[in-house]
Symmetry: C2
């Protein structure tokens, strides 16, 4: 069957009000970039005529401005899952215009197959190649691509010539069977391949192919500063001490590292540390720092769901495909984040906390317990199943007015049962084998900014009995004081005790 090449505007005609639409990609990498703008135009035109036009959106994770951004600006998003990071979309979510439910990223594809969130009407995917018989070669972000292509009635393809066809072989693409027929996911080392280098779709479902030439959005990372550098150094020192104590094997274990500046600092510090051998990544997002360490021989292999690097780095990779092709593997998030594989491989997981409490619970999602930041993303998939789980955070924000460590997190995303180590620029709190009071002292002594240590020690002495001395009268005093006076350091416990 010959492919039908169409314009973005023609493609958008296949998307209707109230459709549930699945998109390829994960972070700004690999999501479609021109059809969403055409859908947004349709929505705006409909709204101007007084007609409704909103779609439900399933994605891998966050996407770029040319997907979440344009559709949010057009107020064309009925619901959105499982993760986002776009400013305009976030505003819609927090003002209630868009319904958002954030999910563990490994579960979305299976939940869609199980039928928990309704039908997938349309899949819109970015590819490096597509054949007449329905072989799809994704670009740099896979996300939920195999599942939405199989479930959707109609597939719209963006064929992006910024990605050479020669990347064929850098993907490992498959879908597990559903229970009760599911078998093991036979990944035993990060480089094991268990699927095909392409996705086979029903060619009759491809309603059109739109040619594009659109690079991924740039990720903008702040340069390293002394705080992120110190966090990175503390993570490296902790892992070296675990190796020396015999608790991490001498050959090391695969690493998962979250996204952002702290993650880049951590990878840099691990790469620079002569006591840590060259290692593998079994992660979600492969960032610039991974590629730099690959070139130095410090990272041997990286498996992920997304190659989310800056434009100069992706050009470097494509110019040196011979070097990189056997060192990078991109998989659907159902595999990159899979609990079975993460636990089997013994992945060391490093994720960023938005806020931590002194008992070892983590808030990854909600500012002040109410306002959604991004979502839990893959941090739950990795943390719960890790060999050892680490959360990192600077001890304070906003010139010290906000402590990242509070008596009780205002939203709970990771519980004390799954959080083994917390690291700030001040040090390493090792929570393993400690009860809640011991954890609190460990965190206060090792991680909390000195300005907040006396306050948090006083909190433990307010007279509450029991396993966890949580005072429900004033466990949110830090948050309430911030709202009132703008500085958590102003807390006086007696003002909050009932």
């Amino acid at each position: 069957m010959a492919l039908r090449f169409i314009t973005a505007e023609e493609a958008a005609e296949f998307v209707h009000h109230n459709d549930n639409v699945g998109f390829s990609g994960f972070t700004p990498a690999g999501n479609p970039k021109v059809v969403p703008a055409a859908i947004a135009k349709r929505a705006i035109a409909a709204h101007e005529k007084g007609n409704p036009f909103k779609i439900g959106m399933f994605t891998g994770a966050s996407t770029g401005a040319r997907l979440d951004g344009v559709l949010a600006q057009a107020d064309a998003v009925k619901f959105r899952t499982p993760y986002q990071s776009n400013k305009d979309l976030r505003n819609l979510i927090n003002n209630g215009s868009t319904s958002y439910f954030d999910l563990h990223l490994s579960t979305l594809a299976q939940d869609l197959r199980y039928g928990f969130y309704g039908k997938v009407d349309v899949a819109i995917i970015e590819v490096a190649d597509v054949t007449e018989d329905g072989k799809i070669l994704p670009t740099t972000g896979v996300g939920i691509l195999p599942t939405i292509c199989r479930l959707a009635d109609r597939i719209i393809v963006e064929l992006n010539d910024k990605h050479p066809k020669e990347i064929m072989g850098m993907h490992d693409l498959c879908e597990p069977l559903d229970p009760p027929a599911r078998r093991e996911l036979p990944v035993y080392t990060p480089s094991d391949r268990i699927g095909k280098p392409y996705v086979q779709v029903d060619p009759a479902k491809i309603v059109g192919v739109v040619r594009t030439s659109e690079p991924n959005d740039e990720s903008d990372f702040a340069p390293l500063d002394p705080v992120t550098q110190a966090i990175g150094d503390n993570v490296a020192a902790f892992l070296v001490s675990e190796m020396k104590a015999g608790r991490i094997p001498k050959d090391f274990l695969p690493l998962q590292s979250g996204v952002g500046n702290v993650a880049n600092a951590v990878l840099g510090a691990l790469g620079d540390n002569p006591d840590i051998p060259a290692f593998n990544m079994y992660t979600e997002v492969i960032q610039d720092a991974v590629i730099a360490l690959m070139k130095k021989g410090r990272i041997k292999f990286a498996s992920g769901c997304s190659l989310s690097v800056s434009r100069s780095v992706i050009q470097d990779i494509y110019a040196n495909l011979d070097f990189f092709k056997d060192k990078i593997l991109l998989r659907p998030q159902e595999y990159s984040n899979n609990p079975e594989i993460v636990r089997r491989l013994g992945v060391i997981t490093i994720n960023t906390a938005l806020e931590a409490d002194i008992f070892g619970n983590i808030n990854s999602t909600h500012v002040s317990g109410t306002r959604m930041m991004n979502g839990i993303g893959g941090s739950g998939d990795f943390t719960r199943n890790s060999y050892v789980s680490i959360f990192t955070t600077p001890s304070v924000m906003k010139d010290g007015k906000i402590s990242s460590f509070v008596p009780m997190v205002a939203h709970h995303d990771h519980s004390e049962h799954s959080v083994k180590v917390i690291i700030s620029e001040w040090g390493v709190a090792d929570l393993r084998g400690k009860n809640p009071r011991e954890r609190a002292h460990e965190i206060i002594d090792k991680c909390v900014h000195p300005d907040y240590r006396p306050l948090l020690r006083q909190y433990l002495e307010l007279g509450v009995k029991g396993q966890t001395p949580q005072n429900l009268d004033c466990c949110f005093a830090f948050h309430q004081e911030l709202a009132k006076s703008g500085d958590m350091r102003n807390v006086r416990w007696e003002d909050y005790m009932k």
Copy 2:
């Protein structure tokens, strides 16, 4: 090497102050029953002389009065993990005399192998048989038996003649390799066997065998009442509706069910429902209700970690081993609760909430956020990896003075990301695909006791903006009011707003 038969008192001499001791068993089933009392006597004697005597305790889960009870009464417990339910031990934990950290039960064995909690000095195990060459046949609760036997320096055996040697074949016993050498755990249906029917230990480590004739403690369940019966019926109706909608396969999926009265009621209702086919269990604790349904042909097979049944039921099983032997399999908790297997099999998980909040978070552990009840147990292992996760709770306790549904749970054990369905005697709240505000209305409308519905609806209208309208000034008003006036119904929001 000939086995050395000794007395409990002689056995206790092999246990020293500050030793870390691992015990077999899971619930009152399968834990040693006479050596702990002898250790407690040693501790009391030491204390009377002014000498310290406390041990660290690793178990499968809770144990009976003859293990946790006697050692707690002797104040002989330095630390305890991963789960407990004994009144005396709970008091020590909540008054700070005993250090307790509760863990996801599937992780303890691997954490011990990884060396996270120090050395295992002694293993004390109950067996149905032991041979001179070190073949160990556990009784009715496996727990962490294979791991502690391999890690410990010394093994003390209680050979309990209440369990016939003919149960050989009802266990599936093994340990996974540790990363990076771990392979798949090849369980594809609940009845798959992947290990041996016995545990091979180094016979040189067996310092003595104590003969006993001690039945397990009786579990005391209250009889069914209208509330638990209604919860059971609601669970059955929900699962039938999921089958009818095509979201659960027609052959059904394996079930995990927590421990207690509600779990018994749920199993009874499922067994009675003609629309639910005969099914399998892949669970933690096999209770009386499972055995009753097996005899009726309604449960085909049950895999678990513990056969925790009443004395009359265990006698029935042993008198009819031909019938039961190919229908029950007992495994270490590292397998019964393993995320890899639970997710692969697509287990439908049903656990009990201590407290739920209107946004779908669950408290399984802490009364009023401070006082430890039991621990998280296996609920996290199963819930997070389930096909669909269900939590059940009566809507109110203490004649309606306590609502099980509150604005914010006072301790978070399961987050909104993992909790899919909540069921009370009033109905079923289906949280899938709903944002936090929608979840709140669903829970209030379907599950909350009518006395509390207006109060909780008012809470949502206190004016808080954002994804989750959590008001940090009064999210614990229910708990504070209970402490103040003894009745959560007395909450007036204006009294709690700052």
